[in-house]
């Protein structure tokens, strides 16, 4: 083959559209459901999530009440929909906090020179030594329970992981051939940072953050379940789990459905994160 001919195999390998997998399609559908539930829960609800009807208490799932009713006769499905916003907000904000802090620490370590790298690295190792949930509990002890503290707590406890990965990516990209090529061309330090180092180092982080949202939702729910996050009667998933725990032997639907939402959210973000990672991997 002449080196002047374009290699057709490589071209078609890139442009050939691959049909998305069924799992990815399902994940997108579920995300659409979550988005609508967050922005306009009324569109999806079949009843008022806070309307008390003691006569209808503990109804099992039926056509009238898809997920059954709770101890006060409230529609569990509508409450699950109502709680989506709170649960996701906590998950997304916690990830954002963790990512922002991780970015700061990672950038200091990866770009700030040898001394900073050493200091941040050791601080990070100390943070790693504590289990994440313990770190979160410490924050709550200091600032009291509540959804905001829970968010900050989860964010803080995920930061060291992000920091380490971001540092690694930055160090790899900084010493790559194309960064040296940009230096030789005469580009300035900041331009190289903005055009080459950050975009290439942070592309994989987007994937990680998607995976992280699911994780953060689980942690936030765990804190709410322990009574340290959102407080009942707020229809947050973790808080609903905690409230339904008392009736777990008689009314399984009080815990199963909120739990199912947590599980599905985590699976969905994981599937999407992997799909993103596969796309990113194919591009490299």
């Amino acid at each position: 083959m002449s080196d002047l001919e374009l290699s057709n195999r490589a071209v078609s390998g890139r442009t050939l559209p691959r049909p998305p997998r069924a799992g990815t399609v399902a994940a997108f559908a579920f995300v659409a459901f979550l988005v609508v539930a967050t922005i306009a829960p009324g569109l999806l609800q079949t009843a008022d999530p806070t309307a008390i009807a003691p006569r209808d208490a503990f109804e099992p799932p039926s056509t009238a009440h898809w997920f059954g009713t709770d101890e006060s006769g409230r529609d569990v499905y509508s409450r699950v929909v109502e709680g989506t916003g709170t649960s996701l907000l906590i998950g997304v904000s916690a990830t954002a906090i963790g990512l922002a802090l991780g970015l700061l620490l990672g950038a200091l370590a990866g770009l700030g020179g040898r001394v900073l790298d050493f200091v941040v690295g050791r601080v990070n190792e100390v943070l790693f030594a504590f289990p994440g949930i313990l770190l979160a509990l410490l924050v709550i002890v200091l600032w009291g329970p509540g959804p905001v503290t829970a968010t900050i707590a989860v964010g803080l406890s995920t930061a060291p992981g992000y920091a380490r990965i971001i540092r690694g990516e930055l160090v790899t990209v900084r010493s790559s051939g194309f960064v040296e090529a940009a230096r030789v061309l005469g580009h300035g330090r900041w331009r190289i940072l903005a055009r080459h180092i950050l975009p290439n180092a942070l592309a994989p982080i987007v994937v990680l953050a998607t995976l992280g949202i699911g994780q953060a939702v689980v942690w936030a729910s765990a804190l709410s379940y322990l009574g340290l996050g959102a407080q009942p009667p707020a229809p947050e998933w973790g808080a609903m789990l905690a409230a339904g725990r008392t009736y777990i032997t008689t009314a399984w639907w009080l815990t199963v459905f909120p739990g199912l939402m947590i599980v599905l959210t985590t699976i969905t973000t994981t599937v999407l994160g992997r799909a993103l990672a596969a796309r990113d991997g194919a591009r490299r």
Partner: protein, 543 residues
């Protein structure tokens, strides 16, 4: 005539529904002979080699009229039968010894594995035999090396370990797929000698390479492959002396060794351009005119690195000069300090002592801020063109970015002009480097280097990763661009043939020092240093 250890008739291989990548290949290897398959990448050499061992891969459909390996027809053999053939009937030596050896196991265990599996030897017996085999392949200190892991060995030592493992069961057939590509000439010569020894002991050797000069040293018969089919076959001397097929001629012409400076390597172009060339070529500037300072000059450069416990003196008291329109060829084995010198010249690392001057003005003593505004005067081309491109950018964006850096006008016309200069089709601008061939990627890298209209071009192994024929075209391009732009080039290579073809003056490096320096013709015809003489002796050439 002895019995053939390999006999193949009408071998065809296809993948999926695609067309055949190997089409009706006939091969015959007799005991104690060496047959070489040569061809460009994509000609089907490696697929052929793999099909002979049942390793063509999942989805491959292998058909043949006859496929006799080690005395039995292997057509339609099961994986189980192939496993009994590999190692015992035929050994395989691959190009990349680093990935072919398990990094977590000692090479003694890697070599001992076939002995334990096929001969049911004990661990201790296998280790003893491994040491013998390492001795056979000329490994230094075999009783110590046997316990080392592949990561602790040099490239040449790894390749020897790999050959030792292929020889472990003394198979009648040895298949070597590009066994010396990416090795220094000295190491290359030793590896070839090793294969030749195996041949002399009665092993049939099937050698696969893109480089005709390499295989011509030990091959009895040459088979030229193009687009999956055999285009020419015959005794080595006959093929080299009187090639009939154009592909064979291109392969022979691509060998730069002993081709005079300035002469084109690609036949077709030489014929086409021959009448016009003398007039159209601007004359090279007179050698070292007294008025003009050298385009780039290094004075007493030293650089060391602290690593582990000790200090590595990568470059020691090196001085050099390159005049406008001239090329300084820098040659030496890997680890001799060539790349460090290139980085010093480019102002990427600060020298511990000495300085680099550009057109008589200080360069390395400047602070980076001042150097940056002058960076368009010196450009670089690297071995790994692909790695030097931002993976998110297409060719057009890469070139536009270089135009911005060189403070040139940024327009589609400017990008087109750059691509024209390096003879890459203009529609490549909208493509990602992934969609280009290796030769085209290197051309784009050269176009980027030219974007700032530099006076000096630093080329660090720019053709080492390319096939012989592609390499020839890229070398021709460098020559052409140098004439047009009057570039001063610092050209680094471990390949003496390339250096001789490209350079006006030559510096030979070893252990961080320049051991010989002078006019290219003088260095090559009358080398003063024994290392230079050895390098020249070992560099592959067509006899």
């Amino acid at each position: 005539m002895t019995a053939p250890v390999l006999e193949v008739r009408g071998l065809s291989v296809s993948f999926g529904a695609g067309r055949d990548v190997v089409r009706g290949v006939d091969l015959m290897v007799e005991a104690g002979t060496c047959v070489a398959i040569v061809g460009e990448s994509g000609s089907g050499k490696s697929v052929t080699a793999r099909a002979l061992l049942g390793l063509a891969g999942a989805g491959a459909s292998v058909r043949a009229d006859r496929l006799v390996v080690a005395g039995a027809d292997r057509r339609g053999a099961s994986e189980r039968e192939w496993r009994r053939t590999r190692g015992v009937g035929a050994g395989l030596v691959l190009q990349d010894a680093l990935v072919s050896l398990d990094p977590l196991r000692s090479i003694g265990r890697e070599i001992g594995d076939p002995l334990r599996i096929h001969r049911r030897m004990s661990h201790a017996a296998a280790r003893t035999r491994a040491i013998e085999l390492l001795e056979l392949v000329g490994m230094p200190h075999p009783s110590l090396t046997v316990d080392r892991r592949s990561g602790e060995l040099s490239g040449g030592m790894r390749q020897r370990a790999l050959i030792a493992s292929a020889l472990a069961l003394d198979p009648p057939l040895l298949i070597a797929d590009e066994p010396t590509t990416a090795l220094d000439v000295g190491v290359q010569a030793r590896v070839l000698a090793l294969l030749d020894e195996a041949r002399a002991r009665g092993t049939g050797v099937l050698l696969i390479s893109h480089d005709l000069a390499v295989v011509s040293r030990i091959a009895d018969t040459v088979v030229v492959l193009d687009d999956g089919a055999v285009v020419e076959t015959g005794p080595t001397a006959e093929i080299l002396g009187a090639p009939r097929h154009p592909v064979t001629r291109a392969l022979i012409d691509a060998v730069p060794t002993d081709v005079p400076r300035g002469a084109r390597l690609v036949v077709r172009d030489r014929q086409a351009a021959a009448p016009a060339e003398p007039e159209s070529d601007p004359p090279r500037p007179p050698r070292s005119g007294p008025a003009r300072p050298p385009a780039i000059e290094g004075v007493g450069l030293s650089k060391s690195f602290r690593a582990g416990g000790g200090t590595t003196h990568a470059v020691q008291e090196v001085s050099f000069r390159v005049d406008p329109g001239r090329t300084l060829g820098l040659v030496g084995e890997s680890g001799s300090g060539k790349t460090t010198l290139a980085r010093l010249a480019l102002g990427l690392t600060a020298p511990d002592a000495g300085e680099v001057r550009l057109a008589g003005e200080p360069w390395t003593p400047l602070p980076e801020r001042d150097r940056r505004t002058r960076r368009s005067r010196i450009a670089a081309v690297y071995q790994d063109a692909f790695g030097s491109f931002d993976p998110r950018w297409n060719v057009g964006r890469i070139l536009r970015d270089a135009l911005v850096a060189g403070q040139r006008e940024v327009s589609n016309a400017a990008v087109t002009a750059l691509l024209d200069q390096v003879h890459v089709p203009v529609d490549a601008a909208s493509r990602h480097p992934l969609a280009l061939s290796g030769g085209q990627r290197q051309r784009v890298a050269i176009a980027r280097a030219l974007a700032g209209s530099p006076d000096v071009l630093v080329c660090d192994e720019p053709v080492s990763a390319l096939d012989a024929t592609v390499q020839a075209r890229v070398l021709d391009l460098f020559d052409e661009l140098q004439r047009v732009h009057g570039l001063a080039m610092l050209f680094i290579s471990h390949d003496l043939g390339v250096i001789r073809h490209m350079s006006d003056t030559v510096a030979v490096m070893r252990n961080g020092r320049v051991i010989e320096h002078g006019d290219a013709e003088r260095v090559f015809t009358a080398p003063q240093h024994e290392v230079t003489a050895a390098l020249i002796r070992d560099s592959p050439r067509i006899p």
